[in-house]
């Protein structure tokens, strides 16, 4: 019996208090032997998600062109501040056979509202990046969870991807530098 993987992504597009949805469901039959190789199975699921997201990106861009609507998968606290669309798709995933339940694949990595639709799937932040972020926040007396939420609208630091983490490190270091500069002049 083949291993069937179903992934689904939906996004919301809104403008002028009206909204439309974009959704895609991909069903793929994979070699059942992948069950014996969990990392590879995850990789395959990631690839299917990447394909689905790419397709949704294209549809989203077409919709934006036609209607001026921008797509979003979640409400961002900064939605009003950013002209570019936020992409944080709602993912549904399931795998039959011995591996079932929702997908634990990677998020798209483009939750950064400032980056819009560009770029492919990106891995979660590395341990080194998370350690650095914790260290910077400790030094600056900031709450990392708050900064992550403020910048990216994410609920948890675990949701940060490697690109976002890198950008946040730069941002906080820059802010730290500015703070130090202001203290010198005051």
């Amino acid at each position: 019996m083949p291993l069937t993987v179903n992934v689904g992504i939906s996004r919301k597009a809104s403008a002028n208090y009206q909204s439309q949805g974009l959704s895609i469901n991909l069903t793929a039959e994979l070699d059942q032997s992948l069950l014996a190789d969990p990392p590879r199975l995850q990789l395959e699921i990631d690839r299917i998600y990447a394909q689905a997201e790419q397709a949704l990106d294209r549809q989203g861009q077409a919709l934006t062109t036609m209607t001026g609507m921008t797509a979003s998968g979640q409400e961002s606290p900064h939605a009003a501040d950013h002209a570019a669309p936020n992409r944080a798709p709602h993912r549904n995933g399931s795998t039959n056979g011995q591996a079932n339940g929702s997908s634990n694949g990677h998020h798209s990595g483009n939750g950064n509202a400032r980056n819009g639709f560009h770029g492919g799937p990106v891995r979660p932040a590395t341990e080194s990046q998370l350690k650095a972020l914790r260290s910077i926040c400790k030094r600056m007396h900031l709450r990392l969870e708050h900064e992550v939420h403020e910048e990216y609208g994410l609920e948890s630091i675990e949701e940060l991807d490697v690109k976002q983490a890198s950008a946040l490190i730069d941002l906080l270091k820059e802010r730290q530098g500015q703070g130090a500069s202001q203290r010198r002049w005051s």
């Binding site: 969990p38 990392p39 979640q74 770029g119």
Partner: protein, 324 residues
């Protein structure tokens, strides 16, 4: 077969996305456990990951394993298959690991925009590691713990003073573990990566730190390149979407009275002369080693490595002090 069902646009509105962190264990810190270990296999046709776990207790192979097998399959068997207790641990190994930790602390401080630890502070860490080993430490000729402390101090001063200790980019991984598949016929490969950083142009650089007896020649750099090319292969997959590994670097620090810090750079892919995959026939090499391990082929390869082999007291083929 892939079938696509698409509905667009629809009125189906998205709820808050249940985004989760990856659980496949790639790119975790060295101290963390990897959750990707497969459970007990039920099929008679065991997959490479299961085979590896059945043979070595680890569902992967690493560059250390590969080079250990290539150096002496018998020593590999003692260490990874029989999991024998080593009679001693060479001081060079403990020293190297401790030096790596010191360098990683420096890189982590740079990434966090914090002041670097001083050479004295870092040297204290090395001294602690040299004395913390639970397995007896085998010192080299003319070595003492005090001489190693002094050596660590000199090397760290040289490292901290060298411009090469500052990477020209943003650090992404420092002492992280990457694990992934490079070929279906071999188990997943695990890489312990010293340093990965991203340049301003978006390309990635993999850097490996080596403590060496003498300066590296161009031949030595080429000889060591496959390790980093393998890491580049893995990282290209694991960091897909962030950038591609374009450069490899060996940063060598000599264990000398006047330590020399050198940076050796090479491209991530070897253009043209390797059969087309750009990776020096790495997959072939891994396949051959794995085939030997899987088939239980562990001949002794007596030679100069016997002197520092921690299993030579029970190896019948060992030169100079083998088992009776």
């Amino acid at each position: 077969m892939i079938s696509i069902r698409k509905t667009t646009p629809t009125r189906a509105l998205a709820s808050k996305p249940p985004r989760q962190r990856s659980t496949d264990g790639v790119l975790a810190g060295r101290s963390s456990t990897n959750p990707s270990q497969p459970s007990c296999p039920s099929s008679s046709s065991l997959m490479p990951a299961y085979r590896a776990e059945a043979i070595t207790g680890r569902p992967y192979i690493s560059w250390s394993q590969v080079s250990s097998y290539q150096l002496c399959p018998k020593a590999y068997e003692f260490k990874y298959v029989l999991r024998a207790e080593p009679a001693f641990v060479p001081s060079s190994l403990v020293f190297g690991v401790a030096f790596h930790d010191a360098v990683a602390r420096t890189s982590a401080a740079d990434l966090a925009g914090a002041p670097r630890p001083s050479a004295e502070e870092l040297a204290l860490g090395v001294a602690h590691e040299l004395r913390a080993s639970s397995v007896p430490l085998r010192l080299g000729k003319g070595e003492s713990l005090e001489s190693l402390d002094a050596l660590a101090s000199r090397m760290l001063v040289a490292y901290l003073a060298s411009p090469e200790s500052h990477v020209q980019g943003t650090s992404i991984c420092i002492e992280d573990v990457a694990r992934g598949n490079v070929d279906q016929s071999i188990p997943p490969v695990e890489a312990r990566v010293d340093h990965v950083y991203q340049r301003q142009d978006g390309s990635l650089v993999v850097r490996d730190i080596k403590t060496t007896r003498s300066k590296w020649s161009a031949d030595k750099v080429s000889e060591s390149a496959p390790q980093l090319r393998l890491y580049a292969m893995l990282l290209d997959r694991e960091l897909e979407g962030l950038g591609r590994v374009e450069s490899l670097e060996f940063l060598t620090v000599t264990k000398a009275a006047k330590p020399v810090v050198q940076l050796h750079q090479l491209p991530a892919r070897n253009a043209g002369n390797d059969g087309g995959d750009g990776h020096d026939g790495l997959i072939d090499q891994l396949q051959q080693v794995w085939a030997g391990i899987e088939a239980g082929v562990f001949p002794a390869r007596p030679g100069w490595p016997c002197r520092s082999c921690p299993f030579n007291d029970r190896c019948p083929a060992a030169i100079g002090g083998g088992a009776a």
